[in-house]
Homo-oligomer: 261 residues x 2
């Protein structure tokens, strides 16, 4: 029950009753982002809202009644590979919230899945909640801070309408899986493993912006193929499945209020 006479709660309620206007996608790899950029007819910013010299890329435009941005951390200046992982993801989430004041953030991307928890290659999951599995701080309370458990914004109607699979996501900065990572992922009871989600959730929580996660399974962590090989092999096909689901999500969101999704 909402407290009576709470001004900030009234503001939050009236906010949640106007249609969603601005959506920011945070996507780590440009190969994951481009199908969405093309689908929504977005164009790369000519006048970037980000500081000079950063490799961050924002694609921007209108699709139906929505202002949509797709923001990627871009290519590492020295090495030319996508700037994957929690640090670039947290920075672009912070800078994108500042630049676009979105009503909702969608962190979309590929991930590893656990077949023992029901994940298959090509599945696109809506994430229920997130944790970290590589921030071990064995001091009371700091241990919980390290795990960093956070709920995704609750979207019961979206979940039902699109008939998506739902599961917990655990985040770490490694593509491979150490013994300790595996123990913590099991302790976290996660179905999915990625390299950005919990960091995006952290920043969205800091700045009080609702965030949801669409994660498409490129590799089975508990399967029998090497992760890097399976990831690269499935990237293109799974990215296409991700684009399809993200389009359905955007079509569902269009014209609705936060409280209706």
């Amino acid at each position: 029950m909402a407290p009576h006479g709470d001004e900030s709660s009234d503001v939050a309620q009236s906010e949640s009753r106007r249609p969603i206007s601005t959506v920011v996608f945070i996507i780590a790899m440009q190969a994951e982002a481009l199908p969405l950029v093309n689908k929504f007819g977005l164009a790369e910013d000519t006048d970037s809202p980000f500081p000079k010299g950063v490799p961050w890329v924002r694609y921007h435009g209108s699709y139906k009644d929505l202002h949509i941005s797709v923001v990627c951390p871009g290519k590492d200046g020295a090495l030319g590979v996508d700037s994957v992982g929690t640090v670039p993801a947290s920075l672009i989430t912070y800078a994108s919230i500042h630049a676009s004041q979105p009503d909702i953030i969608v962190n979309a991307g590929t991930c590893g899945g656990f077949k023992i928890k029901g994940a298959n290659i090509g599945d696109v999951f809506l994430v229920s909640d997130v944790t970290f599995h590589d921030r071990r701080i064995p001091i009371p309370v700091f241990d919980l801070y390290g795990v960093g458990h956070r709920q995704a914004f609750s979207t019961p109607n979206l979940l039902k309408e699109l008939n998506l699979k739902i599961g917990r996501l655990s985040t770490g900065d490694s593509l491979d899986l150490s013994t300790q990572d595996e123990s913590l992922i099991i302790a976290n009871d996660a179905t999915l493993k990625d390299m950005e989600g919990a960091a995006v959730a952290y920043v969205a929580d800091l700045l009080k912006v609702p965030v949801i996660f669409l994660k498409a399974v490129t590799d089975l962590v508990d399967g029998d193929k090497p992760t890097a090989e399976e990831f690269l092999q499935n990237l293109a096909a799974v990215t296409s499945a991700l684009e399809e689901t993200a389009t359905k999500v955007i079509n569902f969101i269009n014209g609705k209020c936060l409280s209706d999704i």
Copy 2:
């Protein structure tokens, strides 16, 4: 040799020839920061330059000819512990550069040290260069991106004058040490282990701000005591050694140009 007629190089040269005016300290724990805040007579901002709601704390003031800020990520909103680790450190580095446009960043804090590499409890090191040890991405080039090797700003005169120990720092988000972390720290040939340095270096490099690192050893990673216990036991005494060295560094920097330190 600098290229002739390169305008940006000329600007950089003239920048490096005016005295350093603004210094930002990035410090993860308030217990590490407060001795410096008191020493330099800084006051907490009443009108924070940071977004509403974030726990980040900036202490600010003038000391000799310098504008000094000490910025901490503050206490986690839900759990009340210091917001340690790479994600908050990268965010406050980014936001502090935006707010203060510093001439130089100093990332100061406690760390673990390897006695086999010459570290002792209470030593304060100047860091030569940084790496990550918990970003394993076994795909060519991505592997190097994960390690994220970066040089600290070169300060040969400071090093000589203050007679500091120098060593490589490796960063990860865990206080403990997994087998994989240990292998990578050894592969990285690091003397010191912390939870923020390489992330601060990453952001400083993105935004082209010189950064140096002062790291004081609270625990021996290859010693015989449990890390968390040794860390908590030595925190107060080692923080005092850190304050003493940071004061010497500031006194040395005062009145000098970047190219003279």
